[in-house]
């Protein structure tokens, strides 16, 4: 988590180390840019213009926006208690399932009018956020809090256990196969074309929901007393406690925020993909955690940037290299970034990192 500046007695880096820092940071950014740039140049050279790479990037940003919402949950929790909450992706899956269940409760179908759809989906968004948020708080209270002072491996393996429990809840709920759900918003219908790049409804939806939520979260963490308490707890829980901050409540609040974002991501995912399944949380969790690490774990901006970068790499790889190679390309990039810049692109914001 982005913490306030911490006075520390760091060793001033030498000139060589500074140069390496700059090279590793900007070299990796250049390497990331090189991926779309290469295809853009080949497209232009072939006389095809920039619309194809534009399509890839638009799809990447909209997909990445969903990953970013999930990644924020990982980064918030890691930032404050340094736990990889493996169950977070599955909480996101539960958010999707709740949203789909609410379609039936609110009678939302292909024949529902625009106003009914807007009101109904907004209600679905709020409820799925609340359910996922409450679930995350409950998981923290039941499975993680009792292990607060246990060795680090104990909560880690508990998180894996909770993940499996949620997956099995998903299997019992909707079965173990992908379930097609009504395409309420005609997700892939083109809304507008900009410079030959079509923008679909689902692209707009993903960005329109993600941007305000991320802005609200950032404002909450940076400008409110509770946000300040979160940052203080992230820096030093003992000192925060001595200063009168209720650390347990603050940690619960962090889990609540992560869960709220997972619930929102769940609804967007359901509307975007028009199918849900119990394993979506595992896959999304893996990608989102990768995004959080790539951007710099504990860093809110890093999680968002990491999500968007992975979204774009995935879509470019799907379109240019092949869907079957996409996981290898994404994780290849992750390995590269970790080797040259273990703190991630933007930099870690954790107690360990200082």
């Amino acid at each position: 988590m982005e913490s306030a500046s911490v006075p520390s007695e760091r060793v001033r880096p030498t000139g060589g180390a500074q140069a390496w820092e700059l090279i590793s940071k900007y070299g990796l950014i250049a390497l990331l840019i090189a991926f779309p740039a290469y295809y853009a140049i080949t497209d232009v050279a072939a006389g095809d213009g920039l619309s194809r790479i534009g399509e890839n990037l638009v799809a990447g940003i909209s997909n990445g926006a969903i990953w970013a919402l999930v990644a924020l949950g990982y980064t918030l929790v890691y930032g404050i208690i340094e736990l990889i909450n493996f169950a977070h992706g599955d909480n996101f899956m539960i958010g999707s399932f709740v949203a789909f269940g609410l379609y039936g409760v609110f009678g939302l179908g292909l024949g529902t009018g625009a106003l009914g759809l807007a009101v109904g989906l907004f209600a679905c968004l709020l409820i799925s956020m609340v359910v996922s948020g409450a679930l995350n708080v409950m998981i923290e209270r039941v499975a993680y809090r009792p292990l607060r002072n246990a060795p680090k491996l104990a909560p880690l393996i508990t998180a894996v256990g909770v993940s499996f429990i949620l997956q099995n809840v998903g299997v019992l709920w909707l079965g173990a196969s992908q379930v097609g759900i009504p395409d309420l918003i005609d997700a892939q219908r083109q809304v507008v074309e900009i410079a030959g790049v079509p923008i679909s409804r689902s692209d707009l939806l993903a960005v329109a929901v993600t941007v305000p939520l991320v802005a609200l979260l950032t404002a909450f963490v940076n400008r409110t007393r509770l946000g300040k308490a979160m940052r203080a707890t992230a820096q030093d829980p003992e000192a925060a406690r001595l200063m009168g901050i209720n650390v347990d409540t603050t940690i619960s609040l962090t889990f609540l925020l992560g869960g709220l974002l997972a619930g929102a991501g769940g609804l967007i995912y359901a509307l975007y993909q028009t199918s849900v399944w119990y394993f979506q949380g595992f896959t999304a969790g893996l990608i989102a955690f990768t995004a959080a690490v790539m951007g710099g774990i504990g860093n809110l901006r890093g999680a968002v940037i990491g999500g968007l970068i992975i979204g774009c790499i995935q879509q470019i790889s799907d379109n240019r290299i092949g869907n079957e190679w996409t996981p290898a390309v994404v994780f290849g990039y992750l390995v590269l970034i970790m080797v040259f810049r273990p703190q991630g692109l933007i930099g870690e914001e954790t107690r360990e990192a200082g």
Partner: protein, 422 residues
């Protein structure tokens, strides 16, 4: 040092013991005789997930055939045991671990005389070597992957030898292999005026193999193949992959459980005019249902090939056995339009029972059963028509049915005479 030596000795013994387990757990190794007067026929199919409907249809067909002979062949009582080769976490497909466990269960049971399955070719890849080593005859109601029986186009290196460690053929199937389905799909696309096709394959034994067969058959028939892309089951979507398709036709070589509802939806959305084709792997409710599968607008543009033919076609051919099957199925299960795989389930069991019947008192001799089944099945007059099982275990039937999707179910349209099919 002595302690170390002892430790090494114990380790060697443990390793040797583990190694011997590879034989499949003992049992009737080498195809001996099944013991007792009760013979067991195992069925191993995915009973969870997207293939559940098809598997249940197969089981209904198998049970019907068994019921019609009163559950007995000569002096032997036949016990039917249905196993699930899928798991809750890996539904719709044969799970490798569960499939191996099913095969070992059959091997360890001394009364086993037949093993009917798997539904998925990828599952048979696992169970076949285990059963083959133990000499247990196996019939699949649905496997189409070429490499299970031959090394023709579509097979992987080392196939099919690696599935037959006993060096004898113990496996047969009642559906034509994918060289024929590939040719049938290419013939259909040609008839529909396709100039070019883009293929997605799900990277399974079945999907990747069929993809190669469609590719080869399409080229033979003058259709340009613009791509054959493997797909990742866990991908959230295939939108960007779909946007690169420039062909006028699309063929999704995979099974529903490998995320092929999403694949078809994304391809259809990327090009509103593209013609869509699918194989028997998607001829199931989980795909065709407009509630849980592809939307009605996509279903209207999709054609599917399945080896079975409709009741009308069987009537036109004067196949009295098929007509009787449909009537019996309706009276037993109350369904006049059974899933296309019900008739294959019936024929799988009927073939097994007739093979046993022809052997009289030797019906418990696995080696005799295998000999009679593979290569010994000649001019069999069946619900599917008249066919042989050749020395590789393949049926000589070649007709494929073309299906469209109506009211969320596959609807038989016509017979495809596949061009250039071997």
């Amino acid at each position: 040092m002595a302690a170390l030596g002892c430790l090494f000795g114990v380790f060697a013994l443990v390793v040797a013991a583990c190694g011997s387990d590879d034989s499949g757990g003992g049992g009737g190794g080498g195809g001996g005789k099944a013991s007792g007067t009760t013979l067991t026929i195992y069925s191993s199919l995915p009973l969870q997930g997207t293939s559940k409907g098809q598997s249940e249809a197969v089981i209904s067909g198998e049970k019907l055939a068994l019921k019609q002979i009163g559950g007995k062949v000569g002096k032997y009582k036949i016990k039917y045991s249905s196993l699930d080769d899928s798991t809750a976490q890996n539904p719709g497909n044969a799970d490798d671990g569960q499939t191996a466990q099913n095969a070992r269960k059959a091997v360890q049971d001394k009364s086993t005389i037949f093993y009917l399955g798997e539904f998925n070719s990828g599952g048979t890849k696992i169970s076949l070597p285990i059963l083959n080593k133990a000499g247990i005859p196996q019939i699949s109601p649905s496997n189409t992957a070429v490499g299970l029986t031959t090394d023709e186009a579509g097979a992987d290196p080392g196939e099919p030898k690696k599935y037959y460690p006993a060096k004898t053929r113990t496996y047969a199937r009642v559906v034509p292999k994918d060289t024929i389905q590939g040719a049938a799909l290419a013939t259909t696309m040609k008839e529909d005026g396709c100039k070019s096709v883009h293929i997605f394959n799900d990277k399974t034994t079945y999907g990747a193999g069929l993809g190669r067969n469609v590719e080869a058959a399409s080229k033979e028939q003058g259709i340009t193949v613009e791509g054959n892309d493997g797909t990742d089951r866990n991908a959230a979507n295939y939108r960007s992959l779909a946007t690169k398709i420039k062909a006028d036709c699309f063929m999704g070589s995979g099974v529903t459980g490998e995320n092929y509802v999403q694949a078809f939806k994304d391809v259809a959305a990327a090009d509103p005019d593209i013609k869509l084709y699918g194989p028997d792997g998607v001829a199931e409710e989980a795909f065709t249902s407009t509630k849980k599968g592809i939307p009605a607008s996509v279903a209207a543009r999709t054609k599917i090939t399945v080896a079975t033919l409709g009741l009308k076609e069987f009537k036109r051919r004067g196949n009295a056995k098929a007509e009787k099957f449909f009537a019996d199925y309706a009276s037993t299960y109350g369904k006049t339009n059974p899933d296309p795989y019900a008739i294959y389930g019936y024929e799988t069991m009927a073939l097994a029972l007739d093979t046993l019947k022809s052997l009289g008192n030797k019906a418990n001799d696995r080696q005799a059963v295998v000999k009679k089944l593979v290569g010994g099945t000649k001019g069999r007059d069946s619900v599917l028509g008249t066919y042989d099982i050749d020395k590789n275990g393949d049926t000589t039937l070649t007709d494929y049915g073309l299906y469209t999707i109506k009211d969320g179910e596959p609807a038989f349209q016509k017979v495809i005479k596949a061009q250039g099919a071997k």
